[in-house]
């Protein structure tokens, strides 16, 4: 890969407490050509957000300490330009909350990687 191409890589922050899902997302997005940064819980996610700019944030909803809803709320307040994909594993009101907090795309688990790819490409472009 040329240096120029490496420099234009879009950066995606993945905030997910499930190790397997986080690893799968990281591998898949890396395969698609994105640079990835990961966080294992909401609090670590907030720390990562402060460290550098991102082109996209993918966050789980149900996480310890700070939920994905908290991440989306803070992100949309401080960095409204960064698109967010919310991943939710449990129904009841998580999806409704994610919509209220203006998540740009909401995916239920288990999710279709093709749909994820399309959503990422659409939001990053």
């Amino acid at each position: 890969m040329s240096k120029d191409k490496a420099e234009t890589k879009r950066v995606v922050l993945i905030v997910e407490d499930d190790d397997e899902v986080r690893s799968m997302l990281k591998d898949y997005l890396t395969f698609l050509g994105y640079e990835t940064v990961t966080a294992a819980d909401g609090l670590e996610g907030l720390n990562r957000i402060k460290e550098r700019p991102y082109d996209l944030v993918i966050t789980d909803i149900a996480m310890p300490y700070v939920s994905g809803i908290g991440i989306i709320s803070i992100l949309k307040k401080e960095h409204p330009e960064i698109p967010v994909i919310a991943i939710t594993g449990y129904g009841y009101h998580a999806e409704e909350l994610a919509q209220e907090k203006n998540a740009d795309y909401i995916m239920g688990k288990p999710f279709d990687v093709q749909k994820l790819k399309e959503a990422v490409e659409k939001l990053i472009s």
């Binding site: 609090l43 720390n47 402060k50 300490y65 908290g70 709320s73 009841y92 009101h93 909350l97």
Partner: protein
């Protein structure tokens, strides 16, 4: 060779527990009498002050706002617990700042949800307590009490 049926043995044991007197009593009554006895006193005979299980369940049904408030309140309390754990060790300022931001965001949302609760909802008092606690901790973090 005789093979004993274990179920048959168990049934026999249960059946043998029914004493002769009980068995005779049962035989005398018809099914409706037994059913009435099993149901206990009817609604007009000595009504219990306790609510029926169905009534309790219906009273515990939560509105969407209450569910959201409980979820955010629980998250905030977990975060405060995590903060306490961090402070026992040595917390880095970046994590503390993130916690302060999350506490601020949660408090704002809890207060917004409180305004949507019905008048007299006991959850409002709980929200007040959690919010006060959160704001105090947020102020302590931003003031530098923990660094």
């Amino acid at each position: 060779m005789k093979v004993e049926n274990p179920f048959g043995t168990l049934f026999d044991q249960i059946a043998s527990k029914k004493s002769g007197a009980e068995k005779a009593d049962t035989n005398r009554k018809n099914f409706s009498e037994i059913l009435e006895k099993a149901k206990g006193p009817g609604p007009t005979e000595g009504k219990s002050p306790l609510a029926a299980p169905g009534e309790i369940v219906s009273k515990m049904e939560l509105t969407s706002v209450q569910k959201k408030a409980l979820s955010r309140g629980e998250e905030t309390l977990t975060l405060l617990g995590h903060l306490a754990g961090l402070l026992e060790k040595s917390a880095d300022s970046s994590s503390l700042e993130s916690i302060a931001g999350a506490l601020d965001s949660n408090s704002s949302e809890l207060l917004a949800l409180k305004t949507k609760l019905e008048q007299g909802d006991p959850l409002a008092k709980t929200i007040d307590e959690i919010t006060v606690l959160s704001m105090v901790e947020k102020i302590k973090i931003t003031r530098g009490d923990y660094t």
